[in-house]
Symmetry: C2
């Protein structure tokens, strides 16, 4: 079935059908739904080149990918990308990854905007007062931030999970279980997610008059090895923590190894809760002692970002809408009352 | 410094300088080197848009990314992508990921070729008689296969690691240590890398008159959980293996967990060797018992694929060159003589 046949069948002009399928705002919601249903039922898929000509869009979502010898893209990225890809495939969008020098992403942002290679971009791993967000806002290309940046003097569209609440709840549970020395093994603390998580931990502890002294705080790149080193250094000090909240499952692997090497046990000597982005290849319920987690699917976030970018490209979404997802706290065998 | 200034300084025409920088074959190697040196010394970088206009190239490398609810892109992909990005950044190339229905990648290949979105593509995870390789060969777009496909009736350019030799050497070492029951926990055995690995294991065993019976062979998606399940089922049978060769580090995590749950030890009861793609976030030397590995950096492979694709785009590389990298066998504490 082609556009002409579909239009005849629906008794609509080809222009209207095309606009409905491409999400133009001037088509009513009812017509859009009617057209979409018919297209789906009869297996009509618009030819992307024709669509591009008709809409003046590239049909591409962009991402500026920081690279360099010192930059390790971590496995979170691939799960996020899977989600983005799920949506993009169903909507004939491609993703353009523009590798950039991690010390100078600005040049690359300016280039992709100037070249009109993509219709919209997403920005990930934002930090406080993130310059990339300010730049892309100023350059006027549609964008969404995955995460949030504080300290900017304008509003912008974003999708984030509630990192502060997640780590607040996790820490509060440990405090309720009698833990007084709770440590945080965090990711890179120049990034907003890490700032928010630390804030959540501090707030939960402060509610019971407990502090988070520097000796109970680590901020490191999220590898197994760093998790191990952080846990060893925490557990070998005289005032060792009885509870650890940890920013990634991969670091938690290292924590578990450190606990074993020190001949300690989970949860007897140490209660452990880690953040789980829901990787299909590594599951917290399969840890030797099933791991309690704060859980949020980063793949689902990728899908949603793609969906919102598509809506921004077509004009269905405008303005600076922030969307914050709640995070599950999933209790498994790795936590128990504080040792006496 | 702009193109004109660079040309004046070198006493060459702008056309020659431009061609030299863009790797046209008609420029002599000496001139190319002279121009590249001067450009580097004076910080000249060609404007990508201008280059695109001049060369008729999109400046983009493509990858058709299979997606769908049942498709898990695994963390190998992100390391490969990092390597590809390292090279691409330095050469102003972008990567276009075109998500495709995993059951119908052909449509997407045809689309990206028809739309001239990219100058070249790479194909990954090839299987026997891979249809995508046959298709892209027929469509006439420059490409390189990461891995190899047997059973095609034409030659094509590829980059692969020597999977057969790697698993042959690993298995031979176990046999030399006295192991007679060696099991293989492999990846998806429709893929060439897995076929080659199995071949290497069989050949090493056969050289000592040992067979690889079906009860000592597993072929599964490479997750921690599948590694655990495979190892448990292998180790709980009456004729349990004393040695395991395993196709990924993530599956090896599961093997180690199974060994612990069964109250066995490595290497006392079981010798273990796994393939290591060199992830920065999970290192075999950090396993509770340091893990012996067959090692090859998938990030380096990504860099090399990008380099060769760039060479094919500019015409510097032509023909069906196959490149096979040797694989290191790295011995650590996880192997020992067979238990008596």
């Amino acid at each position: 079935m082609n556009l002409k046949q579909l239009s005849l069948m629906l008794d609509l002009s080809q222009t209207t059908v095309s606009r409905a399928l491409n999400g133009y705002p001037e088509v009513s919601e009812e017509t859009r739904r009617r057209v979409a249903d018919a297209a789906k039922r009869h297996g009509y898929r618009p030819n992307p080149s024709a669509r591009r000509l008709a809409t003046g869009k590239a049909g591409m979502i962009g991402y500026v990918m920081p690279t360099g010898a010192s930059v390790d893209i971590d496995p979170h990225f691939v799960e996020f990308l899977s989600g983005l890809g799920d949506y993009a495939r169903a909507h004939d969008l491609d993703l353009v990854l523009s590798p950039a020098d991690a010390r100078d992403e600005e040049t690359t942002y300016r280039r992709i905007v100037a070249n009109k290679q993509v219709d919209a971009v997403y920005v990930s791993a934002p930090c406080h007062g993130d310059k990339r967000v300010a730049l892309i806002h100023q350059l006027g290309m549609p964008f969404i931030v995955h995460g949030r940046s504080e300290g900017l003097d304008f509003d912008y569209p974003y999708l984030d999970i509630d990192n502060e609440a997640a780590f607040h709840e996790a820490t509060r549970l440990l405090v309720q279980l009698g833990h007084k020395r709770v440590a945080l093994i965090n990711g890179d603390d120049t990034q907003t997610f890490a700032i928010f998580r630390e804030r959540g931990v501090r707030r939960a502890l402060a509610a019971s008059g407990i502090a988070l002294p520097p000796v109970l705080l680590r901020s490191v790149a999220m590898t197994e090895e760093n998790g191990y080193r952080a846990a060893r250094s925490l557990l070998e000090q005289s005032e060792a923590p009885t509870g650890i909240v940890c920013s990634s499952l991969i670091m938690a692997l290292g924590v578990v190894r450190a606990v074993r090497d020190l001949k300690l046990t989970i949860p007897g000597d140490l209660s452990l809760i880690a953040h789980d982005d829901v990787f299909p290849w590594l599951k917290p319920e399969n840890f030797s002692v099933p791991l309690s987690t704060t859980r949020s699917s980063i793949r689902a976030a990728g899908q949603r970002i793609a969906e919102r970018l598509a809506a921004r490209i077509s004009g269905l979404e405008t303005g600076a809408r922030g969307e914050i997802w709640p995070v599950d706290l999933v209790v498994r065998g790795s936590i128990a009352g504080a040792p006496v």
